[in-house]
């Protein structure tokens, strides 16, 4: 099956292409041929798919209108057919919109948008309409009541299968008890064999849309299935975004370059991509220059003792400018050059320009383009040892004349290689390298990093051959890095967009530059994650479990589309303990019902070692067993499915990684819950056994020694590493002794309810509640320590102490 992933960013999707290619045949025939891809391959599945598409639509419509969804689904048997009714409380629909939304196959506003939404392809509901029409011959019956209107509108709609044009057959006013919303009624050939999938779909929709109220009636149900909402919070509104530079592929980039109205690369980047401003664009362009043009190697300017002299070289190159201006110019250039550790030819040109302008200002002489060029050439020869080197560099075997670049190259090679390298080898390497630099085209020593790497490797193998000295991979890398980091990005303007668009290599260079530039992750405003809190609330609502955990990851990018993965786990309680755990899969808040085995989420779950998290997993891999529900939600502007029917997520490594991290995050909480539960259970068992044994032992020793039975509560509390709260009443003074025998500090919340008014509290607060006094302390008791909480009370009071802040298993109260 074709992966939808491959069409990301393309102008057209597979389905649309298919449809276009099939214009000559009728749309009915097209549908017939492709219905397996659209989820209508059987009567059982068709019904589920129709419900799914209609409910997805209804949810999107209500959310877009800012209304909390209230959706009613009814399936009835009508003779040989089934009638499907879906009602929502959305904004309703106008007659003009109607054919577009329900009628025309492949109409969809979302298809080009990078925005998270349920229906991505615009195939869904119209395919359901067509399916119903083709199987039952009945039109789709649509009732709509826009907000604020007293009457509703009733339409009947069929699709002309020859032209793929919808036709409204009936249009009349009617009454409807919903204040606003849309109702669609479809009759189709179907069966209820997929009842379980239908129930799962609706239940899972409720889990993942805790803000929605859902109701399902179908012939097999005695009572309608109702799902109440768990939150009144609508999902955050999403906004469209442009693609992210890290996500596009070369083909897409070329298409974007061809289509853009921007003239410059900078404008193109800022205009067409998200998270690219002037600064980021400049960063990308600098990287692009490095890849496309290469950098210029830089060299040390001549020092005082060198026989080369920038000032006199420049001075000689200038004619007819008068001694004063010439000297000022030559000395200005020489001084600025001398201030640099290293300099490239372009930098020298810059310096010459700057100094020339200054001198022009000071002296009134004009230093024109030719003069400046001559000055740059002369100065550059002085820096690099110019002309004579060109001639000596003809033989590769190290002629008697040494390149003037050698000392500079030697210094860098020496610095970059380990001190253990033989000096002769380093020198040989420097000479070999310098010769190769001399052979570069032009005199600016311009080279790309790839070429530099090749050149260094070549020199290294030459040295290895000649000198029997090895320059290993690390040494070579260090040498490359030493030169590259000192090389200068060239000032040349990048080529214009049009020429890059026509030059595949240049476009590839641009793509590489985009990928190597640090760019902020795409904004997540285009995504509406459920949020960990509501993932948990959704599970909590539909599964009566002992434990819930959820995690939402930060947004990541795949194919220029940001995505967010969320995972939730429910454990224990009423969830059946037999068999494997239940996996709920969601994409953009839509439950995935079919093709579980083909889904990336399933693969990820199977590869996690669940034993580590306290779940049973026969053989250490595969679906874990036990009373757990795992839900995974992938929200993206473009969810990669394995097929058009949107049943299973494709195996995209970036997304799989995030799924794994999200699941593991939630699973870690499960693990600590299970560990704690296990330790509490052990503690309870220990407490049970010791609670039986120790009194018997105390009885026995009192019997043997002939003494009264000892009080063993203190010993018990100590054994259980417990917190013990014991009341001592001495006359009018009441003392609660809190002893912490556990190995952690305990933050307790102690309330003593007293029937007469207490006075002289040691600390804490007292509240009078209708003749009962609530004395409250919140003592922190360090491990192994104790606190005394005292107050005075008259008469013959009754007490009742309650202790919070510590598990009951860890508490011994002796009131």
């Amino acid at each position: 099956m074709t992966s939808f992933q491959s069409t990301i960013g393309d102008e057209e999707g597979i389905a649309e292409e298919l449809a276009e290619g099939q214009r000559e045949i009728s749309i009915a025939e097209f549908f017939e041929k492709n219905k397996h891809m659209l989820g209508f391959d059987s009567g059982a599945r068709g019904l589920v798919t129709a419900v799914k598409e209609a409910v997805d639509n209804a949810l999107d419509a209500t959310e877009e209108a800012g209304v909390l969804p209230d959706i009613y689904i009814e399936i009835e048997e009508v003779g040989d057919y089934y009638r499907l009714v879906i009602e929502d409380n959305g904004p309703g629909i106008t007659k003009e919109q109607l054919p577009k939304v329900f009628g025309k196959l492949l109409y969809g506003s979302r298809f080009h948008a990078r925005e998270q939404s349920r229906g991505q392809q615009g195939i869904g509901i119209s395919a359901a309409v067509l399916y119903s029409q083709l199987t039952s011959g009945q039109p789709a019956k649509i009732t709509s009541r826009p907000k604020g209107q007293s009457r509703a509108q009733y339409f009947e709609l069929i699709i002309d299968t020859d032209t793929n044009e919808p036709e409204i057959q009936a249009d009349e006013e009617t009454t409807w008890d919903r204040p606003h919303g849309t109702r669609i009624e479809l009759e189709m050939e179907a069966n209820m064999r997929a009842r379980q999938q239908l129930h799962d779909y609706v239940k899972h929709t409720a889990v993942v849309n805790p803000h929605a109220r859902l109701e399902l009636r179908e012939p097999g149900l005695d009572e309608p299935m109702k799902f109440e909402r768990a939150t009144d919070e609508l999902p955050a509104e999403t906004e469209e975004i442009r693609p992210h530079p890290h996500g596009v592929e070369l083909g897409t980039l070329i298409k974007m370059l061809e289509a853009t109205e921007s003239y410059s690369v900078s404008g193109f980047l800022q205009e067409e991509f998200t998270r690219v401003g002037k600064k980021t664009a400049d960063g990308v362009i600098d990287n692009f220059r490095d890849v496309y043009y290469g950098r210029e190697l830089s060299w040390s300017p001549p020092r005082a003792h060198d026989d080369r002299d920038v000032a006199s070289a420049v001075s000689d190159a200038v004619a007819n400018k008068g001694a004063e201006a010439t000297t000022a110019f030559a000395e200005g250039v020489a001084e600025t050059v001398g201030n640099n550790d290293r300099i490239s030819r372009s930098e020298l040109a810059d310096i010459v320009d700057t100094v020339a302008e200054t001198v022009e200002g000071d002296t009134g002489k004009t230093f024109g383009g030719t003069v400046r060029e001559n000055a740059v050439d002369a100065g550059w020869r002085a820096v690099t040892g110019g002309d004579e080197a060109d001639e000596s560099a003809e033989s590769d075997d190290g002629g008697p004349e040494e390149s003037p670049l050698v000392p500079d190259v030697y210094a860098l090679v020496d610095e970059a290689t380990s001190t253990r390298k033989d000096d002769a080898a380093v020198r040989a390497m420097a000479e070999a390298l310098a010769r190769r630099f001399e052979n570069l085209d032009g005199d600016a020593y311009r080279i790309t990093r790839d070429d530099l790497e090749r050149l260094v490797a070549d020199a290294a193998s030459f040295v290895a051959e000649q000198r029997d000295a090895t320059f290993g991979e690390t040494a070579r890398e260090n040498v490359v890095e030493a030169f590259w980091s000192r090389a200068r990005t060239v000032p040349d303007d990048p080529p214009k967009v049009k020429s890059i668009a026509g030059d595949r290599d240049a476009a590839a260079d641009l793509l590489e530059a985009m990928r190597t530039t640090d760019i902020l992750a795409p904004p997540t405003g285009c995504l509406a994650p459920i949020t960990a809190e509501l993932v948990e609330a959704g599970l909590r609502k539909e599964y009566d479990a002992d434990f819930y955990a959820a995690a939402t990851r930060d947004a990541e990018v795949h194919g220029g589309d940001p995505f967010i993965v969320e995972a939730g786990i429910a454990y224990g309680g009423e969830i059946p303990a037999e068999g494997s755990v239940e996996l709920l899969r969601f994409a953009n808040r839509v439950p995935l019902v079919y093709q579980r085995g083909a889904c990336a989420t399933t693969d990820v779950i199977k590869h996690i070692g669940w034993r580590n998290y306290g779940l049973d997993q026969p053989g250490g891999s595969g679906m874990p067993n036990g009373p757990a529900v795992i839900s995974i939600h992938v929200a993206s502007t473009n969810v990669p499915f394995t097929s058009e029917s949107k049943d299973a997520l494709a195996n995209v490594p970036a997304i799989e990684d995030e799924i794994e991290l999200a699941v593991r995050e939630a699973a870690r909480e499960l693990k600590s819950y299970l560990n704690k539960r296990r330790s509490m259970q052990q503690r309870r068992e220990k407490q049970d056994v010791l609670g039986r044994i120790l009194p018997e032992m105390a009885d026995k020793v009192s019997e043997v020694t002939g003494r009264p039975r000892p009080d063993i509560d203190g010993a018990l509390a100590r054994i259980m590493n417990n917190v013990s709260v014991e009341r001592e009443v001495d006359g009018e003074t009441v003392t609660l002794v809190v002893e912490n025998h556990s190995d952690v500090n305990e933050q307790l919340d102690i309330t003593d309810i007293v029937s007469t008014e207490p006075t002289d509290l040691s600390d804490g607060t007292v509240v009078d509640m209708d003749g009962e006094w609530f004395v409250q302390w919140k003592p922190e008791v360090p491990s192994g320590d104790e606190r005394e909480l005292t107050y005075a009370v008259g008469g013959d009071p009754e007490f009742e102490v309650s202790v919070g802040g510590v598990e009951t298993e860890k508490l011994t109260v002796n009131d």
């Binding site: 120790l694 032992m697 026995k700 020793v701 043997v704 203190g714």
Partner: protein, 361 residues
């Protein structure tokens, strides 16, 4: 050692300790020396091996520990009552008797458990189990030799001569040999023999009469009573003691428990061990010298020998030399292998030669 009423008081004191611990709000516990090989030390003064300073604590802090202490409380009660009634019982009877206790948690799950507990109580109270009136199921072994003694029995005192008044089997050592009083003897030395077959051979050959030897049958790992009596022969009659066993690592341990004390009863070493006891054979050296029929050492034999090299009780030049020799030749021989030289070889040749070498004869 202790008297019987002392024994009872010690037990009650232990119960009272538990009581006081409860009453003070602390966790009842019982501290014992750690009973492992690494925690036995040579006691210069007495020349035996006893427990070192390392201790283990049986605490009610855990379910296991609490069960142990509960069982201890029940056992204390049982023993105290037994002493009150002047009755006695065997270790095995204690194990079965626990079934009659009204508390499932207090019942012993195996006889090892009840045996261990009685040993724990011995150690903590400093009272021997004989004084608790507890005896082992297997009674002590037998003595044959020129010795006259008086034994207190349930049926009154009996005066017995261990050659003249006994049959071929010899005098049966009672469970508590401290009830024996030595009257008269002509013995020259004590010969402890591991196997019953060899003892019978010596008696049949008249070795005890010929050499005035007290032949003590050890019967494998010797019972406490046997070891106690051997020690009394040495201490009270001033007789040299030699130990005659098979030539394998397991038999050296039998010698070790006679001479140095056993790891499990190291608390009683001063009472049971006879540090002057010497090993007569079969020595690894003898296997070579007499060219005795032998079996190859098994892996477990080798492990046992190596473990003996580490055992503090065997860290003497003599034993290191012998054990290393045995590991070297890779052979072991039984006492009976001497029969390969004829039935009288052991009594006529081997023993007299070895005893002569050792300066006993």
């Amino acid at each position: 050692m202790t008297t019987e009423s002392d024994a009872r008081d010690e037990l009650i004191d232990l119960a009272a300790d538990f009581y006081d611990q409860f009453a003070a709000g602390s966790i009842p516990e019982m501290t014992l020396p750690t009973r492992t090989k690494s925690n036995i030390e040579y006691d210069e003064e007495s020349g035996v091996w006893t427990y070192g300073d390392r201790t283990s604590t049986r605490s009610a802090n855990s379910v296991r520990g609490a069960r142990k202490l509960l069982k201890a409380a029940y056992t204390i009660e049982f023993l105290a009552n037994q002493l009150d009634d002047d009755r006695s019982s065997t270790l095995r009877e204690l194990y079965y008797l626990s079934e009659s206790w009204n508390n499932d948690e207090a019942q012993f799950s195996s006889q090892d458990e009840s045996n261990d507990l009685v040993e724990d109580l011995e150690i903590v109270t400093g009272v021997t189990r004989e004084d608790f009136h507890m005896r082992p199921e297997e009674s002590g072994a037998k003595v044959m030799g020129p010795l006259e003694l008086r034994e207190q029995t349930n049926r009154g005192d009996r005066e017995i001569h261990c050659q003249l008044d006994v049959g071929q089997g010899g005098y049966q050592i009672p469970n508590n040999p401290d009830t024996i009083e030595f009257l008269d003897n002509d013995a020259e030395f004590v010969l402890c023999v591991e196997t019953g077959g060899m003892r019978d051979r010596l008696v049949e050959n008249g070795f005890d009469e010929e050499h005035d030897a007290l032949v003590v049958h050890l019967g494998g790992q010797p019972a406490r009573a046997t070891r106690r009596l051997t020690k009394r022969f040495r201490d009270e009659l001033d007789l040299p003691v030699v130990v005659f066993t098979d030539g394998d690592p397991w038999s050296y341990r039998i010698y070790g428990s006679v001479a140095y004390g056993s790891i499990k009863s190291a608390h009683l070493s001063k009472y049971l061990a006879t540090p002057e006891a010497r090993f007569i054979g079969i020595q690894p050296e003898d296997i070579v010298e007499y060219d005795l029929p032998s079996d190859p050492l098994s892996d477990s034999d080798i492990n046992a020998l190596e473990s003996e090299l580490e055992d503090p009780r065997f860290q003497t030049d003599y034993w290191e030399e012998q054990i290393e020799l045995q590991l070297d030749i890779g052979k072991k021989s039984e006492q009976q292998s001497l029969a390969s030289r004829g039935l009288d070889f052991v009594t006529d040749t081997y023993l007299p030669e070895r005893l002569g070498e050792m300066g006993v004869l």
